[in-house]
Symmetry: C2
Subunit: 311 residues, 2 copies
């Protein structure tokens, strides 16, 4: 819930994270609305720039959105050669699109976001994030990602990125096996998915279930990575990275380094959002490091994950 | 300040982190005292176990102390062969001692903590952390770490670990060049230090100053690593890892892997705190990964740090 009565603090405190709260000082509320799906709030914070809050949970802040958007996008797209066709499920703020558009090999970027209000609010209040929608390769579909993927042609995509909220309420289906099966079907052989997959500090039981469901579904490789996002509960968020049967994908190595693409895109004026701002968080070293897991998580997940090529 | 008036929430909100707060629900206050140096509070939290708070800043929780204690200790001690003599500055809770004592090569563990109350409170309320004091190799000195190091014989230690609070107030000197010079003098050639060094998300300007001071002082190598600690501001904390002139230390590789030592210590009953509990966070992969920096930090620090051997 958003607890505005606590003076100027906005609390990020849900049942899912009961017992703790992360609060940002509010300078000014900029938007408060209720869509068909959720409460949508935007405020200017004292130290994290503008903040987007959905159903009381901080989705992004201008200060630290870079790590989530860059990692959820480049971990999958830098792990495969020359991705051409990408689907984003969720991600209505446009940040993932902004990152996808750095890849000049890409010809088509589909996005299926359920909530038009998130898109509109992002375009109005977060222009540096919603800039992703300006890429001419982007096709925006407003609708249910689960239904969209059921209808998607088999083998259509090189990569699918699921930028969802937590597995409580409307997003729950995005963490279950039928949805994973739809994704596997919609990917070309050796295609990849990257889905938001919670915090190892808080949700190991959920993560274990997600990993098991992925193991049953994706016949290529199944991997877990994580990154630092200060304004998310416990300060980190994880990702499932899986590939379908076909060409082997070693997710731990960036074989399609974005640092190089970045320069190509800028210099030659190839498709993309004009001249991109430099990456803030991601680099090829961070890519590899993201797959190293703390011992407590490794002990639980290692039997379920694809072994690292060197071990 | 500790804001008990906010219902059952304990806020971690200081000037240094103005604009945000991390709050843990208090089940019960167990101890509230005022030492000659600071306010000392212990409470039982709803979801993070018991919590130690000094001057309103969370120092540790039972749930996530593992990552800080294991990383600040094993990053330096696993980077050199057979450490024999180690000094801990600060660390009065005993957690670093607990980790140091996993290393059976070590013959002597000196610790200089300024505040006897922290030691006493830890022994009473955090037995799984204060267990480090039970190691017969430990010599506890209550006093000022700066003065202790000025008096230390030259070349005495293989490693010095500085487990301090933040560089505001009494701990400020521990982040300045004269203290670094004392440490360099007290280390044997090729000896190593590891000091707490703030969050890249919040304190890049402080970190840059610390790195510059280290660069001027330590003639071996100068490195920066970081780790996830959910209850610290921004959810991460960094470490400076430096070596003196002499045998080259490549901090990025665990040449003295703790996983093996762990078994040796347990099976042979060599010096140590009897049978150790398994490591929760650290492993050799996490060791290497800790030195990968987000692009925004790398851009600022790379010119000042020792290049990675492969680059």
């Amino acid at each position: 819930m958003l607890t505005k009565h606590l003076g100027e603090l906005c609390c990020n405190k849900l049942g899912m994270y009961g017992g703790e709260a992360h609060s940002l000082k509010v300078e000014k509320f900029l938007f408060e609305g209720k869509s068909d799906f959720q409460d949508v709030v935007v405020f200017e914070s004292a130290t994290y720039g503008k903040v987007l809050v959905l159903d009381g949970v901080i989705q992004l802040t201008e200060r630290d959105e870079c790590s989530y958007q860059e990692m959820i996008t480049h971990l999958p797209l830098c792990s495969i050669p020359s991705p051409k066709k990408v689907l984003v499920v969720g991600g209505g703020d446009g940040g993932v699109l902004r990152e996808v558009s750095r890849h000049s090999s890409i010809k088509q970027i589909d996005i299926c976001e359920i909530d038009q209000m998130v898109v509109d609010v992002s375009k109005k209040y977060f222009p540096d994030i919603a800039v992703g929608f300006e890429d001419p390769r982007v096709n925006l579909h407003i609708g249910d990602g689960v239904a969209f993927l059921k209808e998607a042609p088999a083998g259509a995509y090189d990569a699918i990125i699921v930028d969802s909220s937590d597995p409580v309420g409307p997003a729950q289906q995005l963490f279950e096996r039928p949805f994973f099966q739809s994704m596997a079907k919609a990917l070309r052989p050796g295609g990849v998915v990257c889905t938001q997959a919670e915090s190892p500090w808080l949700h190991m039981h959920i993560i274990k279930d997600i990993v098991s469901a992925c193991r049953q579904t994706f016949k290529g490789s199944v991997n877990y990575a994580w990154t630092s996002v200060p304004t998310y509960p416990s300060g980190v968020i994880g990702f499932m990275l899986c590939s379908t049967e076909g060409p082997v994908v070693n997710f731990r190595q960036a074989i399609n380094p974005i640092e190089k693409l970045d320069i190509t895109t800028n210099r030659n004026g190839e498709p993309g959002v004009q001249v991109q701002k430099p990456l803030k968080y991601y680099n090829s070293e961070m890519h590899t490091a993201a797959f190293s897991l703390p011992q407590f998580a490794r002990t639980v997940l290692e039997p379920l994950l694809t072994p690292a090529p060197s071990s």
